[in-house]
Amino acid sequence: MSWAGDVSSLVDFFSTVLRLSTPIVFAALGGVLAERAGVFNVSLEGCILGGAFGAATGAYLLGTPVGGLVFGILFAAAIGCVLAGLAVGLGINQLVTGIAINILVLGLTSYLARLILGADATSTLPGFAPVAIPLLSSIPLIGPVLFNQDPLAYLMYLAVPLSYWFLYRTPWGLNVRAIGDYPVAADTVGVSVPGVRAICVITSCVLGGLGGCYLVLCQVFVFTENMSAGKGWIALAAVILGRWNPALVFVACIFFAFSEALQLRLQFNNPDVPYQLFSMVPFLASFVALVAFAGRVRPPAAIGTKYVRGGK
């Protein structure tokens, strides 16, 4: 293929992969955290959208991308609190809560966006500019792809090992893993199941929200209604494809973004093949990968269940 040959084209290609993957990686890490604690976070879609809306509002009202980031995180955290309160606190079915929150967030963000951003909705919002890391960014191919990025992409680089470290190298991570598998055992040694779950859910939503912040503050600098466009569902799929392990989930997201970028490329080189067939590529590729490589994967055993002490 012609484009494979020259470096600048490759740089563009992998930059596309990185950009497409970043929001999904954030959300999927959030998914890992929540599901590891036994909560199925279907509202990631809403969290991305909420984070995007918060980011746009903050950036618009305060005039700085940092303000946007703060608002985005706060808005996503608020969604997380609602989910935690309903699904963990009251023990309402996690799926329904998640779906209902998605609907609510879709309506509410659009409603508020019209109210707050109103006529200025078309104008470009302040966002983060790429920051080149000295030395590293001058490595050929890798440098411009990885080390000439905006701050949130760097944050994403950090978030992956950080989540891994958290889950596998800290006592809190141990608590989370135990709660996701056998909450009674964690409860009997004094770990507060609802407490840990609530924290995980809220953090999970904030991570999803960061994905939304990235969309607005680093990628398109504008808020549009329903701009999450299904990314939350893809993140959920990536969580399972990556077997609830942050490192593998990261690989799954990259794999997904790679096939998405590839299909965009292939589309241009093959204008005669119907584009819908290309749009299917990332999903088909994930499907094939799953069937080919993922044997029996055991999800955290307590996922989706409400924990009641003494409930035998």
């Binding site: 190298r169 006592p171 141990l174 056998y182 009674v184 055992a185 409860d187 009997t188 040694v189 770990v191």
Partner: protein, 508 residues
């Protein structure tokens, strides 16, 4: 009074409409081993869960060293130096031993220093004579080993008051003595121990005092020294219990009903768990299978009942090779019944009412159904009949079976597996966690089945039970039968050698 130790006053607890505990008083002086006895469902576990902060009592109070304490959570209990080993294992199976031990351990800071904890844990284990690999994942460990992990978990937290809820129920007889020795050592170290068990000899061997619970109230509180076990049993159940051998006749027939040859199977992890097992069972004979848990007994039972695909060998029933039959065929056409080891996980559907659990085996057949239609009314009638005849104590057959005590659940399973008139009855660990009264009932049922001419395979780690009911005893070790002997020949030395895999005898 300025008692050093624990005092419970007028503790009561209600679940829904059911009074599980009604004004329980108990005093446990520091540095003693205090046993709690009681029938299944008497409220022992509930009382301990209250002490450990898992449940809040509806009334009454808890005093520790004279000071009243509100124990709102397990964390609070641990702060007060209380540790508990639960009746059902509280281990996260996907985590390693050391991870399970440090789970929830306070004061760990930000780093999970597993290596360091593993070292300390190993040292602690050694001092109690346990040999354990701290980095092994729990699901890979046999039950006895898991029980030790539970004990280590409590010891590692340096608890002063240790609650043990039926800790010996999953240990092999050979392990029990070491375990009791460990308890004595803990008492010597000044720890206070509350010990729940259905095994009166264990209580007699180790406890200082005993509290007997009956239906949520204290029926006796006495010193162990000088109280004969039969007296304890009487106070538990409220009547006399036959404790030792039940009367039995010689086998009713010489017909070999079941012929197993060179049976091989793998366990869930893919290891060769059955390495070629051969034996016969005659009609009206009880063949016991003894051995330490995890030596292939579970795989044997599952391979016989079709739940596990055998890898080699044959199973013959009345001369017919049935090795290829599936579960349904074996259970229905061939008449194989199975009382599984795991009552809750395999034998019952806890959320279903009692009468539906009664029809789990034969719901496709009369009288539970006709054609494709269920017959709920007639199923209820059958269940009520069984409940009466097998003395299952419950409020109604429409009650979820989850709320029956273990002994009563087991009686129902026996009724179901026996009332269909099976040719081969496979029983695995039927008395685990049952009180003496229930054990007696189970053994009566087994012997009645024997009289009827059923071939019975009785798998248990409780040697005493096996010796008292079986016609012959096969001993399993590491996936093989190391010997088949008559109960009369079974001296402790001989059995011990067979269990250890030392002696190799040919199939009788």
């Amino acid at each position: 009074m300025t008692a050093q130790g624990l005092r419970l006053e007028k503790i009561s607890k209600t679940f829904g409409d059911f009074k599980a505990l009604d004004g329980v008083d108990m005093t446990v002086p520091r540095g003693t081993v205090h046993a709690i006895l009681g029938e299944n469902g008497a409220g022992k576990t509930t009382l301990m869960n209250i002490l450990y902060g898992l449940y809040q009592p509806d009334g009454g109070r808890i005093l520790i060293d004279g000071a009243p304490q509100r124990i709102t959570s397990p964390r609070r209990a641990m702060e007060l130096g209380i540790g508990m080993i639960h009746q059902h294992l509280m281990l996260v199976e996907t985590l390693t031993v050391v991870e399970n031990v440090v789970l929830g351990l306070p004061g760990q800071g930000m780093r999970l220093s597993l290596a360091e904890h593993a070292r300390k844990l190993e040292a602690l284990a050694k001092s109690f004579g346990f040999d354990i690999d701290p980095h092994q994942e729990v699901w890979k460990l046999p039950m006895g080993m898991r029980q030790r992990v539970e004990i280590l978990k409590v010891l590692y937290r340096d608890a002063n008051l240790i609650i043990l809820d039926e800790p010996t129920s999953v240990l092999a007889p050979s392990e029990v003595e070491g375990f009791l020795e460990g308890l004595r050592r803990l008492r010597a170290a000044g720890k206070t121990i509350i010990f729940i068990s259905h095994k009166l000899d264990e209580v007699a061997a180790v406890a200082d005092r005993v509290t007997v619970l009956r239906r949520g109230t204290v029926s006796a509180d006495l010193a162990v020294a000088g109280t004969p076990p039969s007296e304890m049993a009487r106070m538990m159940v409220g009547r006399d219990v036959v404790l030792t051998t039940l009367e039995k006749t010689s086998p009713t027939s010489d017909e070999v009903l079941v012929r197993i040859r060179d049976l091989k199977a793998r366990d869930n992890r893919g290891n060769q768990a059955l390495k070629g097992v051969s034996f016969d069972i005659r009609a009206g004979e009880i063949l016991g299978v003894a051995g330490v848990d995890g030596n292939g007994q579970a795989e044997l039972a599952e391979a016989l009942t079709g739940l596990r695909q055998a890898e080699g060998g044959t199973v013959e029933l009345s001369g017919e090779d049935v090795s290829a039959a599936g579960v349904y065929e074996r259970r229905h056409r061939l008449g194989i019944s199975f009382v599984p080891e795991d009552r809750h996980g395999t034998g019952l559907v806890l959320d279903l009412p009692v009468y539906q659990n009664a029809m789990i085996r034969d719901f496709r057949e009369s009288p539970f159904s006709s054609g494709p239609m269920l017959r709920a009314a007639s199923a209820r009638k059958v269940a009520e009949d069984w409940v009466k005849r097998y003395d299952v104590r419950l409020q109604s057959v429409d009650q979820a079976i989850r709320f029956l005590s273990g002994g009563n659940q087991q009686k129902l399973i026996f009724a179901r597996e026996v009332e269909c008139r099976p040719r081969l009855l496979v029983i695995m660990q039927p008395c685990k966690g049952l009180d003496v009264g229930a054990i007696e009932a189970v053994h009566r049922t087994v012997l009645a089945e024997r009289e009827r001419g059923t071939a019975i395979l009785y798998i248990s780690t409780e040697l005493e039970h096996i010796l008292s009911v079986c016609d012959r005893v096969a001993v399993m070790c590491a996936g093989r039968i190391t010997g088949i002997i008559a109960p009369e020949e079974a001296t402790p030395e001989r059995i011990g050698a067979l269990i250890g895999g030392l002696e190799e005898e040919k199939v009788a």
